[in-house]
């Protein structure tokens, strides 16, 4: 009797965990789906809420390069700005948001990779970022990842950038933090010497009002990240998005958006790879 009771408790616990794991991805999704399918007039776009310069929630209004590209593309697709519903697309949730149909597209520093292509489709790329280093403005001792031997470097737990450092530069002391904001505050305190992730994310951080003038992007990118527009695999919009991106680049609005969002960071994008030509849709 007692044994069955334990078994039942174990199953209940496992079920609760299972359900809560699924629940995370679903938050707020159900209502959004209902609305959009009912009216068919809004477009739901997933962005980052916590990356200054790319996708940043400023108390209800959103700013950043990803947001600007998203607005431009949505406009080309026939949606005015007030028909856009922005929602947060944290890195871990992006594939689920798309395959469950909770957002229509994602502009969230979303690198195009082959594993991801198995579950989602990509338009673009609309920007080619590269992993780079952010150092204190008065620090001239670091000009690339080779100079990091024995120095303290900060990156985000579980990110591609952190993994790359572990694989390629094992002599570096890597501090893994939950977010880049923590990295920047560690660097301001002197505990670490540099922070690493994609150059445009670093530029966005350095351009924040609180950090202006304190940090600089080294400007020696050592990886290639193609930021694409995440789409569900059964999309019909990929070609139109690619056209919109090309148009944005040709019109000069693309470069304006980059300059405006990294102002004060002493940052120039890698002009060998940028602006990119969108890949043909699969």
């Amino acid at each position: 009797m007692r044994k069955t009771r334990y078994a039942a408790a174990a199953i209940a616990a496992a079920a609760a965990l299972t359900l809560s794991a699924c629940g995370g991805g679903d938050s707020g999704g159900a209502e959004a789906t209902g609305e959009a399918e009912g009216s068919g007039e809004t477009i739901r776009i997933g962005i980052k809420f916590d990356q200054p310069g790319l996708g940043f929630d400023e108390g209800g209004s959103y700013s950043g390069f990803d947001v600007d590209v998203a607005k431009y593309v949505a406009n080309e697709l026939g949606y005015s700005e007030d028909q856009i519903e922005f929602s947060e697309a944290p890195s871990a949730n992006r594939e689920n948001l798309l395959s469950n149909g909770q957002v229509d597209m994602i502009f969230a520093t979303y690198s195009i990779t082959d594993t991801r292509k198995e579950t989602v489709a990509f338009a673009g790329p609309y920007f080619v970022a590269g992993q780079d280093l952010l150092v204190r403005a008065d620090d001239d001792s670091i000009s690339g990842p080779e100079d990091l031997e024995g120095k303290n470097l900060c990156s985000v737990t579980g990110s591609t950038s952190a993994q790359k450092i572990k694989d390629t530069y094992p002599g570096v002391n890597l501090v893994e933090q939950p977010g880049y904001a923590e990295c920047v505050s560690l660097m301001a305190g002197g505990g670490i010497d540099a922070a690493t992730t994609d150059d445009i994310i670093l530029a966005g951080l350095a351009a924040q009002e609180a950090n202006a003038g304190q940090f600089k992007v080294v400007g020696a990118p050592f990886s290639e990240e193609n930021y694409g527009v995440g789409l569900p695999q059964d999309n019909t919009t990929c070609e139109a998005i690619n056209e919109a991106i090309t148009k944005m680049i040709d019109e000069g609005a693309w470069e304006e958006a980059i300059t405006a969002n990294t102002e004060g960071a002493d940052y120039t994008f890698n002009d060998e790879l940028n602006p990119p030509t969108p890949e043909p849709c699969a």
Binding site: L17, N93, E118, T157, G158, S159, Q177, P178, L186
Partner: protein, 225 residues
Amino acid sequence: MENYLTLFETYDVPAAFWANIQLTFWAAIWATLLGTLLALFRISPIASLQFVGAAYVNIFRNTPLTIIIAFGVLGLFGQLQVSLTEDFNLNFFRLAILGLSLYHAAFVCEAIRSGVNTVPLGQAEAARAIGLSFLPAARLVILPQAFRGAVAPLGNVLIALIKNSTVAAAGSVAIEASSLMKTMIEFRGDLVIPIFLTFALGFVIIVIPVGLLTTWASRKLAVAR
């Protein structure tokens, strides 16, 4: 399914759980020592010690663990350059153990105090009557009975500690389970749900035996009165 199994070739999942078990082990030891000391403070006849014990428990029990662990890195390491060892990565591991211990000591203290409440007042009076002062009375009479009455609540603290050890991720301990889960999700976005379930199941497997063991032990060790 085959796709899923390749995850275990690329990522060492058992090693990540082992890191959590190590964090739990050391934190459990330190938290028990500190928690017992705090419980002694709280039941002692000296008012200032009672105050210190109560203040500690109220401060640490009511501070979110994430903040304590993040303080270890941002404050102790970042601002004060505190180093508990020469090894760079081991330093964060130890800072995380420190944070986990300080936090859970408050809960251990309260669990032991609940155990003390199961000891009849007559036991303390009898101890005083045969001439034992506070410390010998606590050591020889009160605490042994209190621990036996506190097995179940201590087990709950241990279970919470096992799961809370994932918060060490906020303290730059990147080898533990929740950090590995983040890495796996980043690189294998096609298998997000199976990855979640793997780690959920891993914790269920670790925690259920602890629960069964403490329930059994609390019956076995209970003082028959």
